[in-house]
């Protein structure tokens, strides 16, 4: 009889341990992914600002160029505001999709919008996993900072010829 209870106890301990290991792996994986998504987002922000700077030098002048520079040089805590400002500046100018420099900015903005969407989703997943009671209790993932949202307006630029997607 006592053998039987040992087996039951050992199985239970094994199951709990497996669940904990799996959960810790899951939390770690989601955090790593949110960090990689943040790096991709960062790269797309730089690309858009660079494309906007090129366009400003060629065609639209000082204000757009300044917005692009500020976005490129912004400190982390001013970054979101600077990127929103650049989006506003880009929306204010008349972009011609036929021009390669304009097209580069439109394409960079479109891909930035996708990177932002994916980043937001992955950060949400990571934060949800981190916020679970068991994960908090055992302080899993404490070696990594909480993943942060990057809160900017939708950077998609609407081109006049674009037909609204139904």
């Amino acid at each position: 009889m006592s053998d039987f209870w040992w087996v039951v106890a050992a199985t239970l301990v094994g199951l709990v341990a497996a669940y904990l290991v799996w959960t810790a792996g899951r939390v770690g994986r989601l955090h790593a992914r949110a960090e990689l998504a943040a790096r991709a987002l960062e790269a797309h922000l730089l690309r858009r600002a660079a494309a906007a700077a090129v366009l400003a030098e060629r065609r639209y002048g000082v204000e757009l160029y300044a917005a692009a520079r500020i976005a490129l040089d912004a400190e982390p805590d001013e970054r979101e505001a600077a990127e929103n400002d650049l989006t506003r500046q880009l929306r204010a100018v008349d972009l011609d999709p036929g021009d390669p420099d304009c097209e580069a900015v439109i394409a960079a903005s479109r891909r930035l919008a996708l990177a932002r969407q994916v980043h937001t989703d992955l950060v949400r997943d990571a934060r949800a996993a981190r916020g679970r009671p068991l994960v908090r209790l055992l302080r899993m993932g404490r070696r990594r900072p909480w993943p942060r949202y990057f809160d900017i307006d939708d950077p998609t630029l609407t081109v006049p010829a674009d037909v609204p997607a139904g």
Binding site: L30, A37, A40, H44, Q117, D125, A128, P164, G166
Partner: protein, 386 residues
Amino acid sequence: MRIGIVCPYSFDVPGGVQNHVMDLAEALIGLGHEVSVLAPADEDSPLPPYVVPAGRALPLPYNGSVARIAFGPVSTARVRRWIIRGEFDVLHVHEPLTLSLSLLAVLSARGPVVATFHTAMTRSRALAAAQGVLQIVLERITARIAVSALARKVQVEHMDGGAVEIPNGVAVAKFSHALPLPGWPGECGPGRDGAIGFLGRFTEARKGFPILRDAFVELARQRPGLRLLVAGPGDADDLFGRFPAELRDRVTFLGLVSEEDKARMLRSVHLYVAPNTGGESFGMILTEALAAGTTVVASDLDAFRRVLDGGRAGRLFPTGDPAALRTGLADLLDDPDARAVLSACGDQVVATFDWPVVARRVLEVYAAAIEATDGRVMDTEWVGLD
């Protein structure tokens, strides 16, 4: 790029998701990518060369209809093997929340996963109970696509996440090059002749067939030679019973049509009518009619107005009003120039729904998913976006 696509439903039965998957795969191959599609099918059933059969699908009641899907240990092993052998850069699953190959593929995936949600499935009680399991599936997905505004809304409100809205594509060439049925569409002069088309379940109230019937009966009495071409599931006697005896020979019923015959049917009429009274989330058939170069007359529903560019690419009539529909039909049948103007604008609209254009937008989502898994940004040339 090496792309693995998973279709949850069997290719042995026609359906919206299956057509979407096939058209997308062909468009991606056309853009120079390597594509493998995993779908439930018998080994001996005739399949396109890019489809890998994952075994027979079992009919299971699901969500009010019967879905033919594959699920279980054998399917799991096949999905795993396909993923390992494929060495895909990105895995694209369709309808990942159904019990299907798609769900298995998401759970077996190691790399970036893109998921497309087709139906505007609201959160059911079963789903709410399985929230923990659902979360495990959802958090393995890197990027989500919704095919309609409605499907996207469900994502945002019930699944706690965003989704990129990319509409269904239309294989424009398949429609614009289809041959009309023999003897159709025939003459269309002022005050006489002309051909009108309707496709769909004529017995279903929200498809609005009675509105078209009333308009047609009235107009056919004033207009000799006017014909009506109806395609869709249903019983011929039931259909003809809805028309007065003297007009029955002016109605032609094709029954349920294949994709090819659908294209031919749309090319066989002067006007395509969508008298729906509601419930359409996108209006796929309208883009198909536009691709066939046929003038569209549709009820003034939100979805239809969006597809028809507010009425510039097709005539809108007040929803549920047979008299207004009759006037609109009579005007357009008498005026080939007005039809040509609408069709020209329709060509522009449909160009944005052409599969190669839509496939490029899907490729950008693939790139975003790969980048989010990798942390590096891809060049557009490598993705094949140019």
